[in-house]
């Protein structure tokens, strides 16, 4: 946990209107979503280590409350976009595990037909505009979603996620300037896990109290959020989202969180730049799923047995998605040339004009 929240007196956000309105069922659903994300990724990690999954695998384990807390407030008019650590947002946006796991396995049944991989999950029909590979490169796209909403006269807002490393990218600052200048309904969510790859926030960012404070330079609202408390995540995100939706005012939320694994599974120094004590401290004291579970039991919303059963289901679902992925066909080599140009895919008369592709 970064110092920004450690020194702050604890407030209880359970009583805020947006949390008070939660039914027991909805509260359990938040647990189910977090647990599904975690079990999906644990399964993915297993098969990555077994060599069945290629490329990079940026795990979200430890950060689940961010995607679940924020996106639980989004409806069909809202949109979201993130970087390469996108599994949590994808599942929370309503994507099924089967096409996601198949994508990791590089299969034709994957959500991006095996063309995107771990970093590039998309479900535009669910308002999820993806997983993008370049640090900070998605921040102007999130701005564009907000611009599109406003231009087309549509309701809703855009949530654009970034890591604490991306706050130093020029594209992010350009986006903040335009967001405030054009009054666009975008909420930037900094998922501050303390490390931009292997370099700690303290060594990579110049800041005073927190990263979100940089919003002041753009005359924009901001807040810092304890990511281990889903009530706080929801309460503060709700305020930012409502302001964006109703007043077209952008904001930055910095949600303090932590990742248990390396930047990606391929992060060779994952165990060197953080002490085992630091990781253990987070797991023991701040794990969002463990804390939420405790809360649900304390509130009498669910019993340990019920929650165990939900976890068991999530595990089974993740295991089944591996079976689906393994049994799925690989893409054909011919499919490499699909999805490059709209007109060639749609076989329009224009696709017969001129040569689009050049090989050898």
């Amino acid at each position: 946990m970064s110092s920004a929240t450690a020194d702050t007196p604890r407030l209880d956000f359970a009583g805020s209107p947006i949390n008070k309105a939660l039914t027991a069922e909805q509260k359990i659903e938040l647990f189910r979503k977090m647990q599904r994300i975690r079990r999906f990724e644990q399964e993915a990690l297993k098969y990555y280590n077994a060599g069945k999954i290629g490329g990079f695998l940026h795990l979200y384990i430890g950060q689940e409350s961010v995607a679940v807390g924020t996106l639980s407030l989004c409806g069909e008019n809202d949109h979201n976009i993130t970087a390469y650590r996108c599994h949590g947002h994808a599942i929370m946006s309503g994507m099924e595990m089967n096409p996601l796991m198949a994508e990791l396995f590089g299969k034709a049944t994957g959500c991006s037909k095996g063309k995107g991989g771990s970093m590039h999950f998309f479900a535009p029909d669910k308002g999820f505009w993806g997983g993008h590979g370049i640090v900070g490169g998605q921040t102007p796209l999130g701005l564009g979603l907000a611009y599109g909403l406003k231009y087309l006269g549509k309701e809703g807002a855009a949530l654009c996620y970034l890591g604490d490393g991306a706050v130093n990218q020029g594209a992010f600052h350009e986006s903040l300037n335009i967001a405030a200048l054009f009054e666009l309904p975008v909420v930037y969510v900094i998922e501050n896990n303390g490390y931009s790859m292997g370099t700690s926030q303290k060594r990579s960012s110049s800041y005073r109290g927190c990263l979100a404070q940089r919003a002041e330079g753009y005359d924009m609202e901001w807040d810092v959020v304890d990511g281990s408390d889903i009530y706080e995540v929801r309460a503060k995100t709700h305020i930012a989202l409502e302001r964006a939706r109703k007043q077209h005012k952008p904001a930055i939320l910095e949600i303090n969180t932590y990742r248990y694994y390396g930047h990606s599974v391929a992060d060779a120094n994952a165990k060197k730049y953080r002490t085992p004590e630091e990781i253990e401290n987070y797991k023991t004291n701040f794990d969002p799923i463990r804390l939420w579970r405790k809360r649900l039991v304390e509130e009498g919303v669910a019993t340990e047995e019920q929650l165990d059963a939900i976890d068991k289901e999530a595990k089974a679902e993740a295991a089944a998605s591996v079976k689906f992925a393994e049994a799925s066909p690989a893409p054909t080599i011919e499919s490499v040339m699909d999805d490059v140009y709209w007109e060639t895919d749609n076989n329009t008369p224009a696709s017969k004009l001129g040569q689009h592709f050049f090989t050898d």
């Binding site: 102007p140 796209l141 004009l353």
Partner: protein, 328 residues
């Protein structure tokens, strides 16, 4: 019927017609609205269409181009002006990682119907950083389409096709052509759109094929006139117009007719569009060649500032004539 318009007026007329035709078309860029466009291409459009359709942006290429790409994913059809294509470097990530790749990486779920336009040329004595000619560079990224109109009529026809296209299209204009006049069909005679991917034989000959795009075509036509008058050589001048998709058929047709080829390209000697065209010719029409394929490109150094020399660094009619004569 047709009228005489300048290249910039033709572009403006094309933009104006598309704004009128489709409410989702929006023009965006630095100084495009209240300032009326750095090169006056968008002059009068803000007064006519207002703040919603014609949008001034900060000098912030990565930010506003990325914003346009995001908006296009949602169904807006933005036409982004780059004051100079040389400024692509500031927004390169957005141009090649987001616009070019998002359709592919999403397995075809997301379209990106955006147009990027602006001048891409040397020859204005503005030094190295403002004189890049990146047609070949962007054509090398699958997912992108690249066009380079040489005449007012082509400028209008191609910008309209670009705006209607469902893929990202990069329109490489030329500062030195903005004031050039030419015949453009009258709007009263119907919708004038030039499909992407169709080259245009701008002059007919039998002895040599001069192939190029953009301002090179104007030089090639002048060279062809000299070749005819002074040397009795009749040149085919083929204007590629569209770099990607590329009219390979038209290229091979003229080569098979004349058996001699000079390629003209404002890119530098290394790489560039002409290098690709040269490869296609030797791969597909080697047996038709009576001489090696020759190129006239920009001398392989950053653009020189000196107004005394820059036109010599670039392809020009004299250099084209010399290269054609060297084939004999």
């Amino acid at each position: 019927m047709s009228r005489t318009l300048t290249y910039r007026e033709a572009l403006r007329e094309g933009l104006d017609e598309e704004i009128a035709r489709d409410p989702n078309v929006v023009i965006m860029g630095e100084e495009v609205a209240q300032y009326n466009g750095a090169y006056k291409v968008t002059q009068g459009l803000w007064e006519k269409w207002g703040d919603k359709r014609i949008v001034d942006t900060p000098i912030s290429e990565a930010g506003f181009i990325g914003m346009g790409i995001g908006a296009s994913m949602l169904g807006v059809r933005p036409v982004m002006e780059l004051m100079f294509w040389s400024f692509h470097s500031v927004a390169f990530d957005q141009l090649v990682n987001n616009a070019a790749c998002v359709r592919y990486m999403s397995g075809g779920l997301i379209n990106c119907p955006i147009v990027m336009r602006g001048p891409a040329n040397g020859g204005t004595n503005v030094g190295a950083t403002h004189s890049h000619i990146p047609e070949g560079l962007f054509a090398a990224f699958p997912g992108l389409k690249v066009v380079a109109p040489a005449t007012p009529a082509d400028a209008k026809g191609l910008i309209k096709a670009a705006i209607r296209d469902n893929d990202p299209v990069y329109v490489m204009e030329n500062t030195r052509l903005y004031g050039m006049t030419g015949e453009v069909p009258d709007p009263a005679d119907g919708d004038f759109v030039i499909p992407l991917g169709v080259a245009d034989l701008k002059r007919e000959g039998k002895d040599v094929s001069i192939i190029g795009h953009g301002r090179s075509i104007i030089h090639a036509l002048e060279a062809a006139e000299t070749l005819k008058e002074k040397h009795g050589i009749e040149a085919d001048v083929l204007d590629l117009r569209s770099i990607r998709p590329l009219d390979v058929e038209a290229i091979l047709k003229t080569v098979k007719k004349t058996n001699r080829v000079v390629l003209v390209d404002e890119s530098k000697g290394f790489g560039g569009v002409s290098a690709m065209v040269s490869h296609l010719i030797q791969d597909n029409a080697f047996d038709y060649l009576d001489a090696p394929i020759k190129r006239v490109t920009t001398m392989d150094a950053p653009a020189i500032y000196s107004q005394h020399v820059e036109d010599e660094q670039l392809p020009n009619p004299r250099r084209i004539v010399e290269k054609v004569l060297s084939l004999r």
